[in-house]
């Protein structure tokens, strides 16, 4: 077994185990930490794919930003030592059933589908390429989505402030 295979299975195992723990843990702060581990392991997968830039985004934004935000809100709204009750049987049954059924269907179709890569020469992915494409208005340019997402972020920011403001 080669090293990258070992690496992949290690990361995949981490992701799956801690995903499961995230949704089953009865202590909410622990669940947040498990989520952090999942996100970090995912960024490890991105590194394996040689996507350093997106891996960095994953680490800074997801692991750094969102998880911190979540932990922050947990501290605001919950007692740390509080243990959740077990989920209702009907809910649990419904969730597990949907999960297994959907998972089975999706995996089955993944296994059946013949993935055929293009024959064109691959593009070298580096910061410069990404930057050029991101702000390009021509072919393979993503200036418009970039602007749209920036407006969306601004709107979300204002919305968050307005909603969370006291006394409305």
């Amino acid at each position: 077994m080669e090293l990258n295979q070992i690496m992949f299975f290690l990361l995949a195992g981490l992701i799956l185990i801690f995903s499961l723990l995230t949704i089953t843990s009865r202590m909410i702060l622990r669940a947040a930490i498990y989520l952090l581990i999942v996100l970090v392991a995912t960024s490890g997968l991105y590194f394996m794919l040689n996507f350093e830039f997106i891996a960095a985004i994953q680490l800074t934004l997801y692991a750094g930003g969102i998880v911190v935000l979540i932990i922050f809100s947990i501290l605001l709204t919950s007692h740390i030592s509080h243990k959740f009750e077990q989920p209702a049987v009907a809910n649990a049954f419904a969730g597990i059933l949907t999960g297994i059924l959907g998972c089975g269907v999706a995996l089955w179709s993944i296994m059946k589908f013949p993935f055929t890569p293009t024959t064109q020469p691959p593009l070298e992915v580096n910061m410069k390429q990404i930057g050029m494409h991101l702000l390009n208005t021509g072919n393979y340019g993503y200036a418009l989505p970039f602007e749209v997402i920036s407006v969306l972020l601004l709107a979300a920011m204002i919305a968050a402030i307005v909603i969370a403001k006291k006394g409305n």
């Binding site: 990258n4 295979q5 992949f8 995949a12 799956l16 995903s19 995230t22 949704i23 909410i28 669940a31 999942v38 995912t42 997968l45 991105y46 394996m48 794919l49 996507f51 997106i54 985004i57 997801y62 930003g65 969102i66 979540i70 922050f72 809100s73 947990i74 709204t77 959740f84 009750e85 989920p87 809910n91 649990a92 419904a94 969730g95 597990i96 949907t98 999960g99 959907g102 999706a106 995996l107 993944i110 296994m111 055929t116 890569p117 293009t118 064109q120 691959p122 992915v125 990404i130 494409h133 991101l134 393979y140 997402i149 969306l152 972020l153 979300a156 968050a160 909603i163 969370a164 006291k166």
Partner: protein, 105 residues
């Protein structure tokens, strides 16, 4: 293309993660855990985008940009959601999902 690891391996991991997220979404009562489940779902989708980019269309950067957009949306969604949770907490003194049933018949 990574030596020795077929695309299906990545896809299986992301699919399982996706459905774990859905399972969590349905099972949990606490809104913040539900939000975490949503993050799991988004993350698994992100993996898919990047894997497809790497394995199937390496001459483009589409997967990259979609992944970035998803991350941005996840961030803004988390911000708004948490603002809502705090608002709810003020109202109900907890953030159980059962309390949000204004859409009831």
């Amino acid at each position: 293309m990574i030596q020795g690891i077929p695309i299906q391996c990545f896809l299986i991991v992301s699919t399982i993660m996706f459905f774990i997220g859905i399972c969590g979404f349905i099972i949990r009562h606490n809104l913040i855990t539900i939000l975490m489940s949503v993050e799991l779902i988004l993350n698994s989708v992100n993996i898919n985008f990047l894997v497809f980019n790497k394995y199937l269309f390496p001459h483009q950067l589409q997967g990259h940009f979609f992944a970035m957009i998803v991350v941005a949306i996840a961030a803004s969604e988390a911000a708004v959601a948490i603002a809502l949770f705090i608002n709810m907490y003020r109202k109900f003194n907890n953030i159980e999902v059962e309390n949000i049933n204004e859409m009831k018949y």
